[in-house]
Each structure stands twice: as C-alpha cells, then as structure tokens.
C-alpha cells in the first residue's frame, strides 16, 4: 500500500483517516496494526482487501493493483486470495458451520475440498461443530469457525479485524494462537488490526496507526 489517503464525510466535516500511509507485508509475514478507536485500523484493512477504495494512493496484492480493478474483478480477486476474519465472526446464521466453510469455494466457483475442511476443523477444534448453526455456538467456537472459513481456500493474505475483540481473555488467547499458527502453516500473510497488545505479540511486526500514518511500535 503506497501513499494511501482516505477521507470520510460525516455530514458536517471531512475527516482524513489515512494520510499518505505506506505499508508492505511480505509473504507469510504476520503484522499487527494497533491504534486507538477511530484511528483507521478497519479502514486500512478494508483498503488492503479492496473492500474500499483510497482517495489517493495504490494497493497492490501479489503484484496486481487491486485499487484499479473494476468492482466485480476486484471482488473475485479478493475472494481468491484473501481470507477475512471480523470482530463479530460474521458467520451466516442460516447456514451450519460446514456450509459456512463451503461458502468461499462457492463464491470463488471452485471445488470444495472436504478433506481440507475436515483437517482445518480438527486443527481448530471445531470438528464436532460442523453440523451446528452459529446461533448454537459460543463466541469462541464461532470465531474458530470464522478462522477456518478465512483459511479454507488457502489465501495468500488473511485480514483480521479485531478477531478477539468480543472474547474473554483466555478464549482470546487461544483463538489468537490458533490464528497465528494456522495462517503461518498455510503460508498466508496476516494483517491484524487489534487493540490487544497480547494479540499483537503473536505477530512478527507491530505497527501503530497515528495521525493517519503507520509507525513501528517496538
């Protein structure tokens, strides 16, 4: 990401959230971005995933300028190469865990790898929950299923936005360990937005987002 500027209009004034931000994440690298609420962490992740477009600057993923792609193409590219984890798990309530894991192959129109689903579920300790709907799971169980969904299609980049924000400390630690390990095992880079220093410590690099710019935390 290079020279990223992003401004929002709240109806009365314009707020510049990102102001010429640069960020490079290497393959397999785990990067944590910390910052106060409203500092632009989620915006940074949205831009990195092509879910939003910068006012200025460029976003490249695997050598491709995704900010310049048309919306359908950008969506398809994101689906193929990026895994997403949200703070509120965002599983589809109408589908059981297995169907939630099958969702990304369906979106990318690729074959479902049932073996991979099973092995991921085992690795994340949710193999007994595959036929259960999200509404009948605990918060930690849901987030583990969400991690499995983010990794099921072997993405090159995982974007995790406060993945442990709604969990208690013990569960958050377990979920974060699993996320960092599985992303690493899968060879995916991880860009983590978090308030939690404990979560950030599981990453290779920690950055702080202040005044619309990133700076090293350590």
């Amino acid at each position: 990401m290079q020279g990223i500027r992003r401004t929002f209009d709240d109806g009365e004034r314009r707020i510049r959230v990102l102001d010429g931000l640069d960020l490079e994440v290497a393959a397999g690298e785990r990067v944590a971005v910390m910052g106060a609420s409203g500092s632009g962490k989620s915006t940074l992740l949205h831009l990195a995933g092509g879910m939003d477009l910068p006012d200025e600057g460029s976003v490249e993923l695997l050598g491709r300028a995704i900010h310049a792609l048309e919306e359908p193409e950008r969506t398809t590219y994101r689906a193929a190469h990026i895994g997403l984890i949200f703070q509120e798990h965002n599983l589809v309530d109408a589908l059981d865990a297995r169907e939630n894991l099958r969702l990304v192959p369906w979106l990318t129109r690729t074959e479902v790898d049932e073996e991979r689903i099973e092995s991921l579920a085992r690795a994340l300790g949710v193999e007994d929950l595959l036929d259960r709907r999200p509404s009948r799971m605990s918060g930690g169980q849901r987030q583990r299923v969400a991690i499995a969904r983010a990794l099921v299609h072997a993405p090159r980049l995982v974007l995790a936005d406060e993945p442990t924000g709604s969990l208690d400390q013990d569960t958050a630690d377990r979920v974060m360990d699993l996320l960092a390990e599985r992303a690493h095992d899968a060879g995916a880079a991880l860009l983590l937005a978090t308030h939690s220093r404990r979560a950030a410590e599981r990453c290779d690099r920690r950055l702080a987002l202040r005044g619309g710019l990133l700076e090293p935390l350590d």
Binding site: S42, M51, E71, T75, R78, V92, R102
Partner: protein, 811 residues
C-alpha cells in the same frame, strides 16, 4: 422529544416514510373510492327528478323503452290529469367528464328555476352574443368543466357531437350537479329523440289520479321508492364492492405493518440505547404509537383525496353496466361528506394503531443496551395453528348457521384470515425444501438465506398470497359465471328472431300480424308487469319449442309445463325463489292486473337476467287485460329463410319494428357481462398492486435485517451483480411460494364465491364446475414478472454499497 424523533424519522428516512404513507393511502383510497361509488349508486339515481319536481315527485315510465309522445299527449288530455313534466335523459361526456343531459319543457323549468332553458343567452366570453342550444347547469359543474357563462361546449353523445352554449342555473340543488338542463325540444332534436320521452313527472298531489287512471302498461313510483328500489337492486353489487375495498385496506395494512416493522428493525440499536439510558417502555411505546398515528393521519388524508379521484374512475367502469342492468345512470359525487371523511380517517388511524401493536411489543422486547439483539420468535407453525383453526372453524360455522350475505362475506373473511395465518409456515417450509433441492447454487443459497428472515417476511408473503388468491379465484369465478351465462342464454333463446317496437310496446293486433308473416311457424310473447311492491310478473305465451329453453332447478319439466299452461300454477326464477324462500309446492299471492291470486309454485328455473327475480305466468291468466307486449319471438318454419323473414318484417314494420337475432342477443349479453365485471378486475389489480408494495417493503426490512450477512458475502467475494441476482431470486422465491399457496386458496375462493357469495348476493346459483385454467395462466407469469421487478429495488439497495460501507453500516 417524541415529536423530534418522528420528525427526524421522516427527514432521515423519506423513502420509508413515503412507503408507509403510500400503504395507508392506497388502502384508504380504495375504501374512500368505493364508499363514494356506493353512495353514487344510491344517491344520484333520481336526484334530477327530486330537483325538478320535489322529493315526493311521482315518476311515470313505460314498462319497457321510452314513451311515445302521442301517448304522453293522450295522458295529458285525460280528464283531471296532472300537469305532467315530460323529461328525456341522455348520457353524454364533455372533456372526458360524464354528464347527464336532462331535457324538460320550458314552462316547467321556468316554474322551478325562474328561467327558460332555451332563452337566448347573454354575451359569452368573447363578448359577442352566443347563439345555439342552451344548456344550463349549476356553478359547480361549470367550474368542474372550466367554463364561464356563455361559453360553448361540445357534448359527446352516441348519436354524434352536440354543441351547446352553457349558462348558469342559479338556485339549483346538488341534484343537478353534473347535469345539464336543456329545453326538451332542443334535447330531442340534438340527441335524435324526436317523438319520445323517458319519463313523466307529476306532483305528489297526483297520486290519487294516477292510482285510479294510469293505464296498466305504465309504471309509476316516487323518487324515494325508486331510490329504495335501487338500494335493494344494487345491494349485492355494493356488498361485493365493500368486501373488496376492505380486502384492499387489509392488504394496505400489510404494507404499513411491513414498513413500520422495517423502521423498528432499523432503529433497534437506537431503542436499545435509549432503553439503556433510561427510556421507559411506556415512553418507547408512546413514541412508536405517535409515529403510527402521524403515518395514519397523513396516509388517510392523502387516501381520501386519492379515493375521491378513484371514485370517478370506478364510476366510469360501473356506470354503463348499471345503466344497462338497472336502467339508471349514476353520476359521481366528488365531494365526500364531512362524516364520511371523519369516519374513514378515523378508521385509518385505528388501523394504523392496531398494526403498530405487535411492532411495539417487539420493540419493547429489545433489552436495554443490547444493540445486536435479534428476536428469535418460536416457529411460525406452532404459534399460529391454534388461532388459524379457531378462525377457520368460526368462519365456517358463521357461513353454515346464517344464510345472509353478510354472514357469507364475514365467514369467508374469517376462513381466509385463518388460512393466511398458516401460509407463512407452509411457504417457508416449501422454500426450505426447494433450497435443499437446489443445493449450493446461487438460487439454493438465496432461498436458504431467505429462510432466516421468515418471521420478517411472513406478512409480505401472506399479503401477496392473499392478493394472488383473490385475483385468481375471482377471475375463475367470473369466467365460470360467464360460461354459465353464455350457456344459459344460448339455451334460453329458442326463437329465430326477436321483435320489439322501436318505441313503446307491441299491441295485440301487431302481434297477430307478426304471427301471420310468411315463414313464421309460431310466436312467443313476453309482457312484463310490475306490481306496486316491486314484484315483477312476466306473462309468457310460449310455443312448444320455447319450453326447452328453461333450465329447471326444481320441479319436473313436464308437470311444470302442464300446470303452467293450464293456468293453475306459476314458475319462479331462482333469485325470486331464494329471496322469498319459496320452493316447489308453496303457494304465493301473485299480483295480476285483475287482482291478486293465490297460486302454487310448480317449478324454479335458472335465470341470470335480474337479481331481484320474477314470477312467470301463462299469458292466459291476464285474460282481457292481456294488453300490449314488450317483445315477440318468431319461430320460423323449417323451410323458411331468416333473411327473407327479416325483409318482410322491414316491409311490414314500417320503421316501427326492431329485431335482433339470438346470436346478437348472446353477444350483447356477454358484452354487458364483461362491462359489469370490469370493476371486479380493477379492484383485484388494485389489491395485487398494494400487495406488491407490501412485498417490497418486507424485502427491504429483510435486506436491512440481513445486512450483516449481505455485507459479509460481499466482503468474502460475492460480486454486486450476483448479490443483486441473489436478492431477485429471493423475491422470485417468495412469489413462487405465494403462487403455489395461492392456487389452493384461489380454488377455495372460486368455490366460496360461486357457491356461497353469488347465491346470497344475487340469488342465483352457478354450476359447481372446475375452475377455468385461464386466470391461473394469466396471473402466474404476471406475478412472477412483477415480483422480479419489485425485487430490483431491494437488490439495488444491497448491491450498490461497497463492502466496507456495508460492513460499517451493519456493525
């Protein structure tokens, strides 16, 4: 504070506010339109007579057709005869506005209004004196037409355009609204009515003279009696219209419910916050009820205005058939009374409040401070089956135990309401099965996701199912009825030609001459007699061939014929038998010209010509009072040519005979039938349109509630186009479910209308045949196409947002 919330809601959510207002306005508009139409059917029928000769004016008419002027002259010359006011009435249009031209003689007009309708007019708008036929009307009608005194106006009449100069008629009451008063001679010339008048008006003081001296082939009534007669005649039609308007209102309420629901869902986080901050349940309930009241008030006010305009459109649909069937021309009153407005607005407010109750209950369930709370209601089926069973049982019991029309309609409402309660559970069950069958395809996922919002979508699904069931069921009933009428007319008309006088009736000598025409083997005659109580007696003289035309519902055909021809018994039409509770073997006092006579009912025959019914007697019972007849059927010899007989008729008739073939009568009957039921189709379309609005608002609510899922799907890789397609598939899925459920409901509606409502409203029964397939085939593709269109708005709404924006909005 509460009003600020309401104001903020209208400002921030203009589309939803408008949708809610549109829902109430649409329902109220239909109710208002139908209320005004019902009023117009009753009130305006004889307003002109009341206006011209007073409320107790006596109106004399010929039994059939207009009255020849010589006949009027003869009446006027009779000793002690009252001062007749001859009147002709013609339907005309001016600039698309339906009017009635009333021709009266100058002396009567001068006496009533102080002006001579034919008097030369003063200068027109151009300043030059205007010349030509003068038409006078009240100021309101002049304003309606945008005219000033002295302006020229072209009237569209079936005989051709007629140009008149308009002048005000000061002192005219509301009875002359939309009526133009012309001098009778001018009117006769302009409308090609030379030599005939429609009616003679006489003052109330002439009652005794009329009782003693009026010839038997002339009928008389007071304006009030005619109004009462019209009330009875049109009761079935008015009841059906009222039922349809209530259904439209009920469907409109589904829209209001969906929209209010949508808004409640949208503001759930706000409610949670306010509750957390200390807003009491009572004040939250107050906020929502005030909102509903504001919506109800605004929607009702707009609905009354729209309904007033709608009344004119509905009247245009119904005026011709009413005129054809009941012989009276209703004109629209475009000014609803204050009482009507207050009643309708009050009903709108009450309905809006009632609809708000479940939404208020749900809003109060939101725990203080919990933004993401989602209410999980128990399964639909478990909640509704007991209530549905109770409603169906109550409705069925009401229909079975009470034979009145109101019980039929009320029972049908209850049964439909009960069945509609289980519609969502069945519909979403079917969608779940379909989703499983479609697997991991886009439609499969679309339908699976739809199931999660079933409690939100249930009202929209029920509204659409109701509208489709009514449209299809009513269409099936109308087509089935049409087939029955066509079949009845085809069987009834056994003669080769039917002859009547161009004006008045045919006297015995002319009938005799017709029977002697070369090629004529036999004649039948029909003469209508109306008793003072409105009982219609029709005297038949029928050759053997004519008897096959009767379809006997009760009574053995041979013994009926034998008893009828011997003058010992009568036959009655089915509506008459039903209205009087008569069956074969019962005795009835028959009003005959020579006095009342008790006679036995030998048979009941099918008849769709009049819903008030009539008694059929053999012409021999009239004895010396046989008199002139209305029409004559000619039965030709086997070797006779109809064309030749027609040319002989033309020669013998000397321009005073009209004739028509059975084929033409049949096609004219069906044309009248089709015009009569135009309004039913129009009402069904209105209900269906309102239901579609309900579906759209339900889908919007669904889209909002599932915003997080849609945002997630977009973020995970669902393209805008596929997300849009997913929403449209959901709409189509709902429409398919509604259609599938509407089919059995429509069959139920068809049989309920055919077997219960028709006999109770009009007195006649219809054969219980299978419903015709055509309405199903028309409605299904239209509903699916409209549903796909309706799905575009919510599809666009969810698909147009960037994933980041959608995720932010959903969190």
């Amino acid at each position: 504070m509460l009003t600020r919330f309401v104001h903020a809601f209208a400002r921030r959510q203009p589309a939803q506010f408008l949708l809610a207002v549109a829902g109430i306005a649409a329902g109220i508009a239909v109710v208002t339109g139908v209320a005004l139409l019902r009023g117009a059917l009753l009130d305006s029928l004889d307003d002109a007579a009341t206006e011209l000769a007073g409320t107790d004016a006596l109106i004399v008419r010929a039994e059939r057709g207009p009255l020849p002027v010589p006949r009027y002259a003869e009446l006027a010359r009779m000793p002690g005869a009252p001062d007749w006011v001859p009147v002709i009435r013609e339907a005309v249009r001016a600039d698309g506005v339906r009017l009635e031209a009333v021709g009266i003689d100058a002396f009567s007009a001068a006496r009533r209004f102080g002006v001579d309708p034919a008097a030369p007019s003063p200068a027109g708008r151009s300043g030059a004196p205007a010349a030509g036929t003068v038409a006078r009307t009240d100021r309101a009608t002049l304003d309606l037409l945008g005219l000033r005194p002295g302006d020229r106006l072209t009237l569209d009449h079936e005989a051709g355009p007629v140009e008149v100069v308009v002048q005000p008629l000061d002192g005219a009451g509301p009875g002359l609204d939309r009526r133009l008063v012309l001098d009778i001679a001018d009117a006769q010339a302009a409308f090609g009515r030379r030599g005939t008048v429609d009616e003679l008006l006489a003052p109330a003081s002439a009652r005794r003279w009329i009782l003693e001296h009026l010839p038997e082939d002339l009928a008389w009534r007071t304006a009030d009696e005619r109004r009462e007669s019209a009330r009875q005649l049109t009761s079935g039609m008015r009841a059906n219209l009222a039922a349809m308007s209530l259904l439209a209102l009920a469907t409109g309420l589904f829209v209001v419910y969906s929209v209010l629901n949508f808004l409640a869902v949208q503001r759930r986080p706000l409610f949670a916050t306010l509750r957390g901050l200390g807003l009491t349940p009572r004040r939250l309930a107050g906020l929502l009820l005030v909102e509903s009241l504001v919506l109800g008030l605004v929607g009702s006010a707009i609905g009354v205005v729209l309904g007033t305009a709608l009344a004119d459109l509905l009247l245009a649909l119904i005026a011709d058939p009413v005129n054809e069937i009941y012989g009276q021309l209703p004109l629209a009153r475009s000014d609803p009374s204050a009482g009507l407005v207050l009643g309708i607005v009050g009903a709108g407010l009450v309905a809006a409040m009632l609809v708000a109750v479940p939404i208020v209950r749900e809003a109060l369930d939101v725990p203080p401070g919990r933004m993401a709370h989602e209410r999980r209601p128990p399964p639909l089926a478990r909640r509704v089956v007991p209530a549905a069973s109770a409603l169906v049982a109550a409705g069925a019991a009401w229909v079975a135990l009470d034979a009145r029309l109101v019980a039929g309609l009320g029972g049908l409402f209850l049964v439909l309401a009960g069945l509609l309660l289980v519609v969502p559970a069945l519909g979403f069950g079917a969608l779940r099965i379909a989703a499983a069958g479609l697997g991991r395809s886009l439609p499969g996922h679309a339908l699976t996701l739809l199931g999660a919002g079933r409690h939100r979508l249930a009202p929209g699904l029920a509204a659409l199912t109701l509208a489709l069931a009514l449209s299809i069921g009513m269409g099936a009933m109308i087509l089935g009825f049409r087939t029955a009428v066509d079949d009845w007319v085809a069987k009834l008309l056994r003669a080769d030609l039917y002859v009547s006088a161009t004006t008045g009736s045919l006297d015995a000598e002319r009938v005799e001459r017709l029977s002697r025409l070369e090629g004529v083997a036999a004649v039948s005659t029909v003469r209508d007699l109306s008793a003072r109580d409105g009982t219609r007696v029709t005297a038949y003289r029928l050759p053997e061939a004519a008897w096959g035309g009767f379809q006997w519902i009760a009574g053995d055909p041979e013994s009926v014929r034998e008893a009828f021809l011997s003058g010992r018994a009568i036959a009655v039409s089915e509506p008459f038998a039903r209205r009087r509770g008569l069956s074969v073997g019962d005795e009835l006092s028959v009003p005959l010209p020579l006095g009342e006579r008790k006679m036995r009912v030998a048979g009941v025959f099918r008849d769709y010509s009049t819903d008030r019914g009539f008694i059929a007697v053999d012409a021999s019972l009239l004895g010396r009072a046989r008199g002139p007849v209305g029409s004559v059927g000619l039965y030709l010899a086997d070797d006779a040519s109809r064309e030749r007989v027609i040319s002989r008729l033309a020669e013998a008739g000397d321009g005073r005979l009209d004739w028509i073939t059975p084929e033409d009568i049949r096609s004219q009957s069906l044309a009248v039938f089709d015009r009569t039921f135009r309004i039913s189709w129009a009402m069904a379309v209105l209900v269906a349109c309102i239901a579609l609005v309900a579906l759209v608002s339900a889908l919007l609510a669904h889209g909002l509630e599932r915003a997080r899922e849609y945002a997630t799907l977009r973020a995970l890789g669902l393209t805008p186009r596929r997300l849009g397609a997913l929403v449209v598939v959901q709409t189509l899925g709902l429409a398919c479910a509604a259609l599938a459920l509407a089919v059995p409901l429509a069959i139920f509606v068809h049989y309920a209308l055919t077997l219960v409502i028709q006999p109770r409203a009009f007195g006649w029964s219809l054969p219980a045949t299978l419903p015709p397939a055509a309405p199903f085939l028309w409605v299904a593709p239209s509903a699916l196409a409209l549903a796909a269109l309706a799905g575009l708005a919510p599809a666009w709404r969810v698909a147009r947002r960037r994933p980041a924006e959608a995720l932010r909005g959903a969190s």
